[in-house]
């Protein structure tokens, strides 16, 4: 970029009082009889790069999906920035009562009024009750924040959905690339900004000044994100025409575009050649140093893991078997056993 340097919008490192971005307690996930993740405790300190490793089928991706809100845990909870966001639903049976209650109250009131002799009231309350019921159902579908909060106050807890987690500040990539294939690279990144843009249906339909300003700002920001990951000049290229390595980088740009505080990378160097891997590794470093983001990495390439991580956690058969600095983990006999089999550590 020759123009006066415009920095990629960085999110200041979010620090809670105890310096943890994310705190998972006793997270378990069962699929039928299969226990994919079993009672995992896991903390991510602010500003660090933490890696999650383990043999195939160890439950890494499942754990990832739980954190990202894609899978509700069977037990345990996840707090993000000090707020409990993910856990099994509590008292979810009570929610339908909340939907129906206002209409029922209206009907009862109307009936009481009729007993007194005010016939007309009943005629009004019946359609009104119907309207209220429809409104409540629409609210239950749309779930605006204030609805969620008031439901929480009644002791009803619902696990956060993926879009709630993105809004709270988690961005992610996928193990098998999941770009919006026929959309341009730029549009992919702009979809990533979805939660940070505010134009609604009406703004878009009327094309208000605020909406146009927001769109063009988003447009420029998206170009900067693409330049940041090294895809400058490929803005209008369709995503699935990009090379494999570029698609991986585009996924990262798309995740970064949501201004996350924690970035979840699921095997970002899978299938890459050594030189692409080196580039990718340096990108992780830049994401941390220039954007002060916290990164959680799932990775099979041990050179990448040992090179960039501050801390490494090892999962095997859904359980945490080791945790510590890369060197500690490397020397841990249980880890060697998990990877190479019994007797290898001896």
């Amino acid at each position: 970029m020759t123009a006066p340097a415009v920095a990629v919008p960085a999110t200041p490192a979010a620090a809670t009082t105890d310096g943890l971005v994310l705190e998972a307690k006793g997270v378990s996930k069962r699929f039928g009889g299969l226990v994919a993740v079993n009672g995992v405790d896991f903390d991510i300190p602010s500003g660090s790069i933490v890696s999650l490793i383990g043999p195939n089928g160890a439950g890494k991706t499942t754990f990832f999906n739980v954190i990202a809100g894609l899978a509700e845990p069977s037990a345990g909870s996840v707090s993000f920035l000090g707020r409990r966001m993910i856990a099994r639903g509590e008292r979810s049976w009570a929610e339908p009562i909340v939907w129906v209650l206002p209409s029922v109250i209206l009907l009862v009131l109307g009936w009481l009024a009729e007993q007194i002799g005010l016939d007309i009231v009943f005629d009004v309350t019946v359609p009104l009750a119907l309207v209220v019921l429809i409104v409540m159902l629409l609210l239950a579908i749309a779930r605006p924040v204030w609805y969620e909060r008031s439901i929480n106050r009644l002791g009803i807890f619902k696990s956060a959905r993926p879009n709630d987690m993105v809004a709270a500040g988690i961005g992610r990539t996928f193990q098998n690339i999941r770009l919006f294939g026929s959309m341009s690279a730029l549009d992919n990144v702009m979809v990533g900004m979805h939660t940070r843009l505010h134009a609604n249906l009406l703004d878009a339909a009327l094309r208000l000044g605020s909406q146009r300003a927001e769109e063009s700002a988003a447009h420029q920001k998206a170009q900067r994100w693409l330049a940041f990951v090294g895809l400058k000049g490929l803005e209008n290229e369709v995503a699935h025409n990009l090379s494999y390595g570029d698609q991986r980088r585009l996924e990262i740009a798309r995740a970064l575009a949501s201004d996350p505080k924690l970035l979840l990378l699921d095997e970002p160097t899978a299938g890459m050649n050594p030189s692409e891997t080196v580039q990718m590794t340096s990108l992780f470093g830049r994401i941390r140093s220039e954007l002060s983001l916290t990164i959680l990495l799932i990775e099979h390439d041990m050179r990448v893991v040992m090179g960039v991580s501050d801390r490494v956690t090892v999962l095997d058969h859904g359980e945490k078997i080791a945790e510590g600095t890369p060197d500690q983990v490397k020397a841990d006999p249980r880890v060697i056993e998990a990877y190479l089999g019994k007797g290898a550590s001896a």
Binding site: A7, V8, L138, I141, R161, F180, T195, N200
Partner: protein, 418 residues
């Protein structure tokens, strides 16, 4: 940067123009999207009646018959535009789209007919009918949210059947099988002082715009429906090029990834249903007022199917393509086939002259669809994205070559950061 890639509102019809003129016109279309949509619709609106006076077409009917047909085609254009949002943009296969058409129609029929005793004015009801349809779009969309692909299609098919049957059986409110007839036609306030005169070809103009909506005179309907189409196209283009439109496309491409990018898939999909239903509701109110009659059998599965065929043939996801597809299919089924029969009868060709082509309408439809899917699966006028998608599927994604050397550094060192 913002121009060529993103805004293409008025561009599509410009492909017909020669080189330099086309480039200038495209520049204009990019800068004044809505204006160019209006200009295009006005030009087409003038050209279509004029085309009916061409020597070949002239013999088949009076100009008013043609204009009446165009106005009816306009209803289907609106329906196709709405379904395009649901199917083409958001990728939700809706086979019960006629339900919202029915809801719009009955809203007007109930609000302005001797049957109900109400005589509410047409113009506000156009909006109200659309709004009512939108509410039902959300309510019928809500149960289908967890479904994808085939399952979604089957459930919407069910809704498409349920709605007309409900209208059929709630005799007290809809007059059941007989349908509601004598629906009041729209009126405009009479403007005093306009002279009465006879127009060549068109007929008598009685001096008050208000009195000019009627069975004998299709022109006010024609103008009204094209005005509604122009507004719909402008709004749909704006939605498509916005945050909401991108979210729809993202859901079409990969719903799971879309939700992991922060898109609330529930509300976004319902919004698509609501917008589709709104357009359908507009078409319904207009259609009820034009025919002055509604009955449940106007909204059977063939309507949903026809509109879906229009969207697919026109080119899913491309607003202009869908509009042209709808117009062409409607004209073929209601004008061309009929005229073909009339034309071939007196010729005395052994087999051809005894065929009633209108009866074979769906056979011909089917053949057209099969041929289309084999020869040009992206539709007559595909959207750029749809074309890319299909091309990529045919080519295999792996063949796509990167545009630069893979060793180009990922790091752009001159990029400073805060």
């Amino acid at each position: 940067m913002n121009g060529p890639q993103r805004l293409q509102g008025g561009r599509a019809p410009l492909r017909l123009l020669p080189g330099s003129l086309r480039r200038r016109a495209e520049g204009f279309a990019d800068r004044h999207q809505s204006l160019s949509v209006i200009i295009t619709v006005v030009i087409l609106g003038l050209l279509l009646p004029a085309a009916s006076q061409l020597p070949i077409l002239n013999g088949f009917g009076h100009i008013n018959d043609y204009v009446d047909g165009y106005a009816n085609a306009g209803v289907f254009i609106l329906l196709a535009l709405g379904l395009n949002v649901v199917v083409g943009l958001a990728g939700l296969l809706d086979l019960g789209y006629a339900a919202f058409f029915a809801i719009g129609s009955y809203t007007y029929a109930f609000s302005a007919s001797p049957f109900s005793g109400l005589a509410l004015p047409f113009w506000p009801l156009l909006i109200i009918g659309a709004f009512v349809a939108a509410i039902f779009g959300i309510l019928l969309g809500a149960p289908t949210l967890r479904l994808r692909g085939d399952y979604l299609a089957i459930v919407t098919l069910g809704f498409g059947e349920i709605v007309p049957i409900v209208f059929l059986n709630s005799d007290t409110y809809t007059k059941g099988t007989n349908g509601i007839s004598g629906i009041y036609q729209p009126s405009l306030p009479a403007i005093p002082g306009l002279p009465a005169f006879d127009l060549p070809l068109i007929g008598h103009f009685n001096g008050t715009l208000g009195g000019s909506f009627g069975f004998g005179n299709p022109w006010p309907y024609y103008i009204t429906v094209f005005a509604i189409i122009a507004v719909a196209v402008i709004l749909l283009y704006r939605l498509q090029d916005s945050r909401v439109g991108r979210a729809w496309m993202a859901i079409r491409e990969d719903e799971l990834a879309a939700s992991a990018m922060g898109i609330n898939t529930v509300t976004t999909k319902l919004l698509a249903f609501a917008i589709g239903a709104t357009t359908s509701g507009l078409a319904g109110v207009f259609n009820a007022s034009k025919l002055a009659f509604v009955s449940p059998d106007q909204f059977d599965f063939t309507v949903s199917f026809t509109v879906l065929a229009m969207v697919v043939l026109g080119g899913m996801g491309n607003i202009w393509g869908v509009a042209v597809g709808a117009f062409a299919l409607y004209e073929i089924q209601s004008v061309f086939l009929k005229q073909l029969t009339i034309f071939l009868h007196p010729l005395g060709v052994p087999v051809l002259s005894s065929i009633d082509f209108v009866q074979y309408q769906f056979l011909l439809y089917g053949l057209a669809l099969v041929g289309m899917m084999l020869l040009r699966p992206e539709g007559l006028f595909p959207s750029r994205q749809r074309k890319r998608e299909l091309l990529a599927e045919l080519k295999g994604v792996d063949e796509a070559e990167p545009e630069f050397a893979p060793d180009e550094p990922a790091v752009t060192p001159e990029e400073p950061h805060a």
